[in-house]
Symmetry: C2
């Protein structure tokens, strides 16, 4: 057995999209979790050739009944004793409901053993003010979230779920409060908050919170510098790393793994929460991997420019394809960065 893995054997059910080429959805998440020692059962919700950032794609969506069917296949052979579940992109309201049924079934099985099933839910609906799912997916998610343990909305998704427009720190805190209250969700991480700031350097914040027993949010933030490049699949990478690092952080606190939803005692302050500790490590790994990806991208684009005699941009379609490919996150050859995050971004109380 490898001794350099951060977690004991952890069985994860991962429900998300699959692409043949590149790293988004389960194609990202499964490898990330496996390389850190998780046994991952993947139920893929689409089978696409590549992610949508290429502007063209071939493949098929999986129906809700096919998702259900695969889970029933696991169940009938006693293969569904998972420790954690991670749900990502679901291609429609019926699939969201199917994932909800699976989550509730796993939760029900775990009733007598608090903390034995932890559900990380990424409510994939849109970004930057734009929905990229059908309108009926939104209420389907709203029905789902109360059964999850941790949700990972981006800023836009947090706004949709909370009906609070996030424009400053106060409205952000309001949104978190509403999410906790409305959905009884114990852990929240808003994965990409970009508020106007006086500093010169552009940065991105992750804001998290774990409820106390008296339903008070404990809010922290971790801020990282922005890398000037558009990546796909970073949400999936964040979620997959979070599964591992949260499990790791919780396992260092005696008894916490046996508490429902892994909620820390009330005396634990926001920046000391396992959720905060995990976020620090996740962001450290990601920053390192994305910096390396950016370097690789720049080299590849330069190479291509040289080959096309500087005329790369002339063919807009080709240009888009080259950029999309060059920006694929370099995961497989950067496992060291996943395994050994050097924490540089620390959680602060808000």
């Amino acid at each position: 057995m490898s001794t350099d893995l951060p977690v004991p054997e952890t069985r994860v059910l991962a429900i998300a999209s699959h692409v043949s080429y590149g790293y988004v959805g389960n194609t990202m998440a499964v490898f990330v979790m496996q390389s850190l020692g998780c046994e991952v059962a993947a139920i893929n919700t689409v089978h696409f050739s590549n992610h949508l950032g290429y502007g063209q794609v071939k493949g098929t969506r999986v129906s809700a009944s096919e998702i259900t069917d695969l889970y029933e296949g696991l169940t009938q052979s006693n293969l569904n004793d998972f420790d954690m579940m991670l749900t990502g992109y679901l291609p429609g309201a019926a699939s969201v409901e199917a994932a909800g049924k699976i989550g509730r079934d796993l939760k029900y099985k775990a009733t007598t053993r608090p903390g034995s099933l932890f559900w990380v839910l990424d409510p994939v609906m849109g970004d930057n003010g734009k929905l990229y799912v059908a309108a009926d997916v939104v209420p389907a998610y709203k029905n789902l979230i109360k059964d999850a343990d941790l949700i990972l909305p981006n800023q836009f998704e947090a706004e949709i779920l909370s009906d609070v427009k996030i424009v400053d720190m106060e409205t952000l805190k309001d949104a978190i409060k509403v999410l906790h209250e409305r959905y009884r969700i114990p852990h929240i991480l808003i994965t990409s908050v970009s508020l106007p700031s006086p500093g010169a350097e552009r940065h991105l914040s992750v804001i998290g919170s774990t409820l106390t027993s008296t339903a008070t949010p404990r809010i922290f933030t971790v801020t990282v510098p922005t890398i000037d490049c558009h990546f796909n699949g970073t949400g999936d990478m964040f979620a997959a790393l979070m599964v591992v690092r949260l499990r790791e952080a919780v396992s260092t606190v005696e008894g916490l793994s046996d508490k429902g939803s892994w909620v820390s005692n009330d005396e634990v302050e926001a920046p000391n929460l396992p959720l905060a500790r995990a976020t620090e490590k996740v962001l450290a790994s990601m920053h390192n991997v994305l910096l390396k990806t950016k370097q690789k991208k720049d080299i590849e684009v330069e190479k291509y420019k040289a080959k096309t005699d500087g005329k790369l941009e002339e063919d807009q379609k080709q240009y888009k394809l080259v950029i999309a490919r060059a920006s694929e996150v370099s995961v497989v050859r950067n496992v060291d960065s996943l395994k050994n995050p050097s924490v540089r971004f620390t959680a602060e109380k808000i």
Copy 2:
């Protein structure tokens, strides 16, 4: 970048089955190749909940047109510049033909750059005297093999493809000769030969051969002790490790990567072939992983027996499920064994 990876970045197209739980087909092969540094694009040919050894399964088969469609998705976005291709289980004659078209397309693209596309073909048809595909899959494979670079039949598949019944070393050599001649295939590995032997210890041999320029086989064998346990997915593990280790062995010989089908000069003797070197490392890794799997299996079965008060065998169906699950190859937490094979089984000339 990881410095402990055996190969430079290698882009592999992997066409095989996918299961949610456990390790067979692409679920095995993709992780094995990724953990050794390959960028793998997976086209999954079935989406099953688990492998067939459980005696029950849910999920769907992928049609030949869906396989073709995913490949066309890669092609239209210039994502099909692969270095290697690995084809495994294909769920019918039409899928075999679809994989053949993909292989020929990649080969055609590589015409002007010899050695730039290497196709490892596992002609999955059956084992131990039994076909487990439809009868029309056999002629479909026979039409395919002449375009591959390396085939990995087991003893039964080698018999089907060569029409030679393998009963001793002489008939084995005949079969290899026929395969080379009939299909003009430069490299052959017969992955599980079990001939009557006088020794007490049970063992399994892998027999390989690379043609010379005068079409003479160079035959070697590597023998390993048998582990008393039935595993699923070992063929897929063998194939995935072979992709990596052959690429590695070939890259240590100057100029060989640029020769068509990576065929070594005539003066290279059988046990010194890159194919032989690669086989040694593959088998060393596998033996280590399977020994650990067997230990894990024994512990799990004992635990279950204790829990059921020794009555495990009474319920035959439950017994089968417990055994199947306990025998799942332990891959994810044994990456060290994949990365660092300590060669103990050496190739010998036949």
